[in-house]
Subunit: 174 residues, 2 copies
């Protein structure tokens, strides 16, 4: 019996440190065995919850890592787009010598290639799509130019994988 | 002494129950209370281990996320450096009109600015540092040109924060 009392004290201490609100478990009806079983069950549940949570944390961390990887170039790419615009404008200047033109085209191509390797590409401009395009002007549609066809691209749009970096600025028939 | 032996057996048994081999755990020496206490202790330990592991996983995931964020622009930046080289070469061409020159400079500045905002900057070239520079040629040092001073930069080097993206190609006195 003195052995039992000793055990009960031990049990009590453990539970008190756990949640510090264990007084109710000391109702006189409960035997030491009951208490020990309760304690075992409590820790089994805690263990199972911790284990499940651990797997959740790991899964979320993996997903987050993949997303970060997939869109890692987004910020730099966005900031580079104006340079690409400027290169296009430079190429449109009248009276460039062949050497200069070739030089600018080389820079342009190497930039486009660098962006492409990181998943950044021009937005297609076949037909107007409000998810990809911004209509800065409209023209009346006619037989030759059906509604939603694109008349002109003012500024190219770009996307990183399926994520839009900026919409294309277009003139659209409607 | 009999107490010691008992304790030793307890340790053994816990390990056996670990793996769903329950037959052996019913040796007659043990009371139900002993078994329940063992089970409680086993799950408490499992819980504590799982909890500690959870915190480790979380900590590692955070560190990894920070590193990914910090160096996220590394790949795209590396691929853009040749475009910057080409722009410099283009600017060195003789007989550029002011308009063309201004246009190229604008592209160059906007690229440098974009890179800078992402933490990418030119490697300094005050004195030769084998961590930052690659000596492609050497010249004999003299009174005016002490050893390790840099005579010429063939190609600029760049770093992302403290991480070298590519070394500067230099001519060094030695």
């Amino acid at each position: 019996m003195s052995e039992d009392i000793k055990n009960e004290e031990v049990v009590e201490e453990v539970e008190v440190t756990e949640e510090a609100v264990e007084e109710t478990s000391e109702t006189p009806e409960k035997s030491d065995l009951d208490l020990a079983n309760e304690r075992a069950e409590e820790f089994e549940n805690k263990y199972l919850r911790a284990h499940a949570e651990m797997q959740n944390i790991q899964r979320r961390a993996n997903e987050e890592r993949q997303t970060l990887q997939r869109y890692r170039s987004q910020d730099l790419a966005k900031k580079i787009l104006p340079s690409l615009d400027n290169l296009e404008r430079a190429l449109a200047v009248e009276g460039l010598t062949d050497d200069v033109k070739k030089g600018i085209e080389m820079v342009q191509e190497s930039l486009i290639q660098a962006l492409k390797e990181e998943g950044i590409e021009e937005v297609p401009v076949e037909n107007f799509d409000h998810n990809l395009h911004m209509a800065v002007q409209t023209l009346p549609a006619d037989d030759e130019h059906p509604a939603d066809s694109i008349a002109q691209v003012f500024q190219k749009g770009y996307k990183l994988h399926e994520r839009l970096l900026r919409p294309a600025m277009v003139v659209v028939y409607n």
